[in-house]
Amino acid sequence: MQDEPTPEELIKAVADFLRNELAPEISGHNAFKLRVSINALDLVMRQLALQEGSDAAEAERLSNLLGMRGPLGEINRVLADRIAKGELDLRTPGLAEHLWQTTMAKLAVDQPNYASYRRELENKRN
């Protein structure tokens, strides 16, 4: 077992340093690249926090949908193949809901400020 601090804590410390102390001193194209870099670290932190739960939920839904178990990467590939072959489509019970939930979980990590994502979250709440 590895010691503390955790990867989450280390990445957050680096991101905070870059954001709060380094960024104000950088200008030009490097300032842009620094901003992108900070965004990347923030994304990694969201993934570390959310992936375990969302992967487990996705695997559970996939098992029900496909009637098979296996590593997430493999059963996701099976889903993709079956959609490609036309064996599953939007009339398949649970497919649309699965794709929506999986996509929402991706956006929560990749781009939680994306306007379409925020709109869908609001619609869910209302």
Binding site: S37, T103, L107
Partner: protein, 328 residues
């Protein structure tokens, strides 16, 4: 360094030019560069742009029309009275600058967030969608006989290319599979009319001033095909930059776009536009995946490209909103 070559080049075709100054590289990847510079002239400097592929980067990607075709199209658009930079010179081998061309520099803004939010564009914004419609009608009305040689594309070919690119990444995406099926099932077939298609008509490729559109840029993806493709592409959610209720670039409605197009004497087929909007959304998603692949394979190791790779999920939610909207 590039100023010396540019000075020699410019002296050969611009009468009275005594040199160049202020050369700055604006953007571009490994294979294409854009430079801004001024031609020094006793009667006043001339603002110019160099767009080129340096020597050794001769092989353009299969989709690209090629820089010589780009120059020809830009000049045709200019001659037809469309907002387009004037082409000043097409590079020759003796210029030692690679392939490409020099054009007049048009002042204005291309950054979407500024165009959508800055006060100085407040009067232009409500007019833009209609204006874009008119410009597209002008592009689609250019006589085919006067165009350079271009690829002839159809929806079926486009679907096949997207599928090939997507499968090449070997990373399963069920939403993309769904979109590919949908596109095949809803392919409206070849259009009755084949026209010039700009191919990348959207924010970033439009120079906009407080008075409206000043120039259409970047004909790299120009081809012959269904004119409705350009109307669908400009409506893709990825180009709305947060203003998702205004389908045209985040500043206007489809009705305004269509009205501008039809006022110029051309007809809109809204069902085809929607089809191409779905295609365009998938296309941008596949392009994002391509960025991720280039990040992995190219020595530059660009964090920017890596992060664009993570934007392909944005197109997945947009595809679901188009193909499987949730009940409210």
């Amino acid at each position: 360094m590039i100023e010396a070559e540019l000075a020699t080049c410019v002296a050969a075709w611009y009468p009275g030019a005594t040199g160049v100054t202020g050369a700055v590289r604006l953007s571009g990847g490994a294979s294409q560069e854009t430079w801004s510079f001024d031609i020094v002239h006793p009667e006043g400097n001339i603002a110019a742009i160099l767009r080129r592929a340096p020597a050794g980067y001769g092989a353009a990607p299969t989709r690209a029309a090629g820089l010589n075709a780009e120059a020809a199209l830009m000049q045709r658009a200019y001659d037809a009275g469309l907002p387009s930079p004037r082409v000043l010179h097409v590079l020759q081998p003796q210029d030692n600058l690679g392939t490409g061309f020099v054009m007049a520099r048009v002042e204005g803004e291309t950054i979407p967030r500024k165009i959508l939010r800055d006060e100085k564009f407040a009067l232009a914004r409500p007019k833009l969608a209609c204006q874009l419609g008119g410009i597209l009608a002008g592009i689609h009305g250019l006589a085919l006989a006067q165009l350079p040689e271009l690829r002839r594309m159809t929806a079926a070919k486009e679907i096949a290319e997207l599928e090939r690119d997507y499968r090449g990444f070997d990373w399963p995406r069920p939403v993309f599979e769904l979109a590919l099926r949908w596109l095949r099932d809803h392919d409206p077939g070849p259009s009755d009319e084949v026209t010039l298609v700009h191919g990348d008509f959207r924010h970033g490729n439009l120079i906009i001033g407080p008075d409206g559109v000043r120039a259409v840029l970047d004909w790299e993806l120009a081809h012959l095909g269904d004119p409705m493709e350009d109307l669908g592409w400009v409506c893709v959610n990825s180009w709305r930059f947060g203003e998702i209720d205004k389908p045209v670039g985040g500043f206007g409605t489809c009705e305004e776009l269509f009205a501008g197009y039809e006022a110029a004497g051309r007809r809109v087929d809204p069902a085809r536009v929607t089809f191409w909007e779905v295609m365009g959304t998938l296309r941008w998603g596949v392009m994002c995946c391509g960025m991720m692949q280039r990040f992995r394979l190219s020595p530059e190791h660009s964090i920017e490209r890596a992060m664009i790779g993570r934007r392909s999920s944005e197109t997945e939610i947009d595809l679901l909103r188009l193909l499987a909207p949730r009940g409210r």
